[in-house]
Amino acid sequence: MKTKSILAALAIAAMAALPQAASAKDISLLNVSYDPTRELYKEINVAFAKQWKDKTGDTVTIQQSHGGSGKQARSVIDGLKADVVTLALAYDVDSLYDNGKLIPLEWQKRLPQNAAPYTSTIVFLVRKGNPWKIKDWDDLVKPGISVITPNPKTSGGARWNYLAAWAYALHKNNNDDAKAKDFVKKLFKNVPVLDTGARGSTTTFAQRGLGDVLIAWENEAYLSLAEFGADKFDVIVPTESILAEPTVSIVDKVVDSKGTRQVAEAYLNFLYTPEAQKIIAKNFYRPRDAAASSAATVKLPELTLFTIDEQFGGWRKAQKTHFDDGGTFDDIYKP
């Protein structure tokens, strides 16, 4: 008798649940990203899932994978099923076109602002009180200063670091490439360890206590202050630096085989909405939407920023000259 009524109740519950089950879908997306965006996308994903549920009734779960930007791109090329990539720089996304045609050549034209929904720059993190009086890029090449930066072969942040230093030296030396190379070579003489990603370098500097100065993403530097306490480190802003434009794209080959194109596109478009731009500002990135800056946790400093296009003729060229096998980095860095 009792079992019967329980069964009946279950049947009714199942029937009530059925129409919903037929229309509401469970979707999962994989966002393959670079190293310091862990906290940012954790927050973005929650906001997007809520918005998507309100709009369509579907439950979307966004899985995250983080690591050095170049390494992450390599994984996607090797078959990691990323619906979207949100990488540190355009060249790493370009490589998805170059190797296996996972995306179209003109992927950057599909979203506003060259598919870079937020920007950042490169600054220095030093120990509290700045014991070595580090003020600008010049101070990093002084003998005896220990500099922490990740490996440009695998990390996107490291490539921004490298090019920022290179461009600074160019400006100081009337655009003399040989002198710039010499400058960067001296800088890397001061680097005791190369981690594969920016986050690895941050923990090396902040947690393990290695090095006198960390060349870091601005967002990563301010996050370190928030995580480890502002009484431990100081952020030093150099006189000039590079405008870092992390770029995003759907991975066409994956979304078309999984049938997730619509939600993946919505996810990336969401990054440009005021709601997401505020989350971006809150997490120490520079939002594209000036109005969102009011949500920023700290007021980001103003400094002279040059772009990769004006200084190096775009990422493809910069990658080939500096980071591909036989590029300037291979010349400079011989462990």
Binding site: E39, Q64, S65, D78, G79, N99, T203
Partner: protein
């Protein structure tokens, strides 16, 4: 013996003995006990509430489940392989034997990262079998099968390496006797060979298991690092550490250490049980 009092046959006096014991204990304390203690103290820095919250986190449980699954597949596979290979090597002479021994050692001599890369080069989208796998919608690397494959690869010498010298030393006399007394192949294996090798086998399985659960390098290359999906416990520890979540990182690390301790306890319990009633085993070896 005509040696002086308290001096044993190898001529080591009490001073020597104390020094040896002291050095061993000091070494153990510095390299084993201290790090282990620091893992547990770091994990409990925020109190038991935070510790259990970290361990019961959905992603941590998923990592634990994946780690156990991988060990559950890799260890029995390598047990069967290890016994078969060491049997073949110890009891038979055949062409290419030394090549087989060298190949078994291969995973020890190549870096785990290279082991992982081999699978990427083989099964990756750009790899040898990649296009075929993609056409049939089979995901090997950046998914559980790849993690299992990489783990099997790096752990496969453990059982065989443990058994080969043991079986070589034991020779084939006991088996030959069993056959001449009318045992069939299976009887010979279960009643003679297995009892003779069981401690070596157990030890090999434990080492294999420890490595399977703790492997980082090879698994890291083929994992894809998708939180809660393709992260084993060592990888999850790395993720937590990288997210400045130090308490949780050490909590999961302590869980991993705890699993290792459990396997050691199981081994000791088995040994103890054997010492309590050793008859059948010893007899089996002795009478034949």
């Amino acid at each position: 013996m005509s040696a002086p009092r308290r001096r044993n046959s190898i001529g080591a006096g009490p001073g020597m003995r104390a020094a040896l014991i002291g050095v061993s204990l000091l070494f153990m304390a510095v390299f084993l006990v201290l790090p282990l203690l620091s893992v547990f103290t770091e994990a409990l820095r925020g109190g038991f509430g935070k510790y259990f919250a970290a361990i019961l986190d959905a992603d941590a449980i998923a990592a634990l489940r994946l780690t156990l699954l991988v060990a559950l597949i890799a260890v029995p596979l390598n047990m069967v392989f290890g016994v078969a290979a060491s049997w073949a090597i110890a009891k038979f002479d055949f062409w290419g034997k030394s090549l087989l021994i060298t190949l078994i050692d291969l995973p020890f001599s190549v870096s785990p990262v290279i082991s992982g890369l081999i699978y990427v080069l083989l099964f990756g989208a750009q790899g040898l079998l990649g296009p075929w796998l993609q056409a049939h919608d089979i995901q090997v690397i950046f998914a559980v099968p790849g993690i299992v494959l990489a783990t099997v690869f790096v752990t496969f010498p453990f059982v065989a390496r443990e058994l080969i010298p043991l079986m070589q030393e034991q020779g084939t006399e006991a088996e030959e006797a069993a056959r001449s007394l009318g045992a069939n192949g299976w009887q010979m294996f279960t009643r003679v060979t297995l009892p003779n090798i069981k401690w070596g086998l157990l030890y090999g399985v434990l080492l294999c298991n420890a490595r399977a659960m703790g492997e980082f390098g090879a698994v890291s290359v083929v994992s894809g690092h998708i939180r809660g999906l393709t992260t084993t416990m060592p990888l999850h520890v790395e993720i937590l550490y990288n997210e400045y979540n130090f308490i949780a990182a050490f909590a999961v690390a302590s869980l991993l250490a705890f699993l290792a301790l459990v396997t050691l306890v199981v081994k000791s319990a088995l040994e103890w049980g054997d010492r309590q009633n050793p008859d059948e085993v010893r007899v089996a070896g002795a009478t034949l």
